[in-house]
Point group: C2
Chain length 402, copies 2
């Protein structure tokens, strides 16, 4: 018998009406003859509410105690869904991660799943029950409660699917799939019916927030397809799967973008073997996350180094860059708080030349200046002025006839 | 080193300000050189809110799933209090009942504690940490989450105190002790400084809602004194302890009352050996809780039987009584929805005659008609018209100069 793992996000669990809607979907899947395991997130808004409660008590809640309070959100969801399913006449049982044994390392607030005990799950499935498991949370071998970080329920679902050797993972959310571009910006963007794991990884890493990055990595590693779809309709969504010949043969799969970026430049840094390593070590030591990095020779002895950081971290990152700049004898340090990143993604680019030049030409024709470029074999990322990002996304979407 | 167990109720944990106030009290106790274990309830109103969420999903939530959702309230409290204590610079650690190992039977929603593992608690105390434990909840040997029923956190605190061989249990609540009568009715009622376990059991069983009945039973059985006091002041409250010669030597310790009672009478029931047993078996089989029972011979062959039930259960209890009445050939069945119970309690009554006659005379002087009377050696319970209960309580309080 097939095991299907379904994951429902916070908006799908927001109130009693939503919970009953999810219960109906679950029961329908069960009645088709499947064994169903459901992974749920906290009701929409609850995690924020719990963080707020903690922050009212202390400015810096300890990681352990924050996980203790955050884990309650998913516990509320699992019990409500179990009640709703039983109300429809099907047997159901809810489990916390501690009860199942979803073992993680002890990095509170960003724990990684290490192992999953399947005994309780399979016993309950064999008793013809729908099994409902709290996403997002885990437990250490010492029975300390952990959480996986925002979006972690996707990863819980995939990890449970892998452990159970499920035939399919369905991730239900408030959008009906992955689009060729953000439909709010590109009205004729369309839903992608099949996307490869590699492309999805680039999309998720480049601003398409539909799936948690780690969940895609895990699914890819275990060759387990994900069906991403809406919990509010019955429409087929997007299959995230191995690259195969049935996949629509396109050069570019989609365009993703992020706007909350800032750029920092260290100009004319004397090129010594130590300088470059030192700069990025110092940035890492100060817990600033760097996204795109470019470096170019100005002349044979000097380099210009640029990198992007999150806009939230711009002030501290610039202060740090000014200090580092002095230490490495940079001629100047610049910061630009308002940049956007536009990423052009597609496995088709691997075997086709000229995609980059078409991107650059198309942006030039729109008067969009490209500040930084970084490429992999399936992704071209351009850093541009923030005010230009909408016309850039629309132009590229048209250029490649997505 | 002394171990002190402190329990704080929902009103003491209602919001961030309250939580910080509790943290201050805990830290002060710790700084006096005690090891402190704190047991907390869910923030005020949260348990009701969680029940409401469940009822929105299904009219009859399963006991297991209701416990799953209810247990989150206390989990929120323990984490917030741990954060607040750490914020004051003391080490603290929170534990759910599952983490500690507060093992109960598997009667969901009204589980009984069977055993408590003390290993995690004593380890943390030895590391100089304040230990914060979720009250109200427990776990079965099969790691199913249970709850102990309303007021169960008091019982958690006493059971933990017993397991740790604590020197004292402090139960913090929103009143500052046990009073000789309800101060809202008797303005000159005063706080009792010391009350025996026996008297407290009668008070708790008779409408004084300050302590969970089972927690007093447990403390009495283990000779562990409870200090009941307010979390909003530093005033000494009421000590609930063994009867001793230092206890104020009074005939009557206090007057308790309840108003949500209803009375049912089966009049002139032929007295056969089977009838009486049958009547109360049937009532029990229909899950109706009976409080006071009286029976009197009308003549040598016939009895009149009266009993009180909760007002909530009056309709179903009366319907049942009508059926039973026919079966046992009662001459008539009466019901009275509006009765009150007034209880006069004191260990001094054991060795003193004439307390009952003073009660009856005093009520007669006030024109209060006594409908039923039931006595134990330390408790005289009178069932009267509900409209009379205030003057009855005031009159008795004056009569015995409480």
């Amino acid at each position: 018998m097939n095991i299907i793992v379904q994951k429902y996000g916070g908006t799908s669990m927001a109130n009693a009406k939503c919970v009953k809607n999810v219960a109906n979907k679950v029961v329908r899947t069960k009645k088709k003859g499947n064994k169903v395991v459901v992974v749920v997130s906290a009701p929409a808004g609850m995690t924020d509410e719990l963080v707020k409660r903690a922050k009212e008590v202390t400015e810096k809640p300890s990681g352990r105690e924050l996980d203790m309070i955050l884990a309650t959100g998913e516990q509320i969801s699992i019990s409500l869904l179990a009640m709703a399913i039983k109300d429809l006449g099907e047997e159901a049982i809810s489990f916390t991660s501690s009860q199942v044994g979803i073992f993680t390392d002890d990095n509170h607030n960003k724990a990684k799943i290490e192992a999953i005990e399947t005994k309780k799950i399979t016993e309950a499935l064999d008793q013809n029950k729908v099994v409902i498991i709290a996403g997002f949370q885990g437990v250490t071998r010492n029975f300390e409660i952990t959480t996986l970080g925002r979006g972690g329920s996707d990863t819980s679902a995939v990890a449970i699917g892998v452990a159970l050797n499920a035939s399919e993972i369905e991730i239900y959310t408030d959008v009906d799939g992955v689009y060729t571009a953000d439909p709010r910006i590109v009205p004729n963007a369309h839903k992608i019916s099949k996307i490869s794991f590699e492309e999805m990884l680039e999309m998720a890493g480049s601003g398409a927030k539909v799936l948690h990055l780690r969940s895609v990595e895990l699914a890819a590693k275990n060759h387990l397809p994900i069906h991403l779809r809406s919990s509010f309709t019955d429409t087929i969504g997007t299959y995230v799967t191995e690259e195969d010949e049935n996949m629509e043969d396109v050069l570019v799969r989609g365009v993703a973008h992020t706007t909350n970026n800032a750029k920092i430049t260290l100009a004319n840094v004397p090129h010594t073997s130590q300088n470059i390593a030192y700069i990025f070590e110092e940035i890492a030591n100060n817990n600033i996350n760097v996204d795109v990095i470019t470096q170019n020779y100005v002349d044979k002895d000097n380099l210009t180094i640029s990198y992007t950081v999150s806009e939230d971290e711009f002030d501290s990152a610039l202060e740090l860059a000014n200090r580092i700049g002095k230490e490495v004898k940079a001629q100047a340090v610049f910061g630009n708080e308002k940049v956007a990143k536009v990423c052009i993604i597609g496995v088709g680019m691997k075997s086709a030349a000229g995609v980059a030049s078409r991107v650059f030409r198309c942006l030039a024709n729109e008067g969009v200046e490209i500040d930084m470029v970084s490429t992999s074999d399936i992704n071209i990322s351009c850093i541009i002025r923030e005010s230009d990002y909408q016309k850039a996304v629309i132009a590229i979407h048209n250029e490649f006839q997505l």
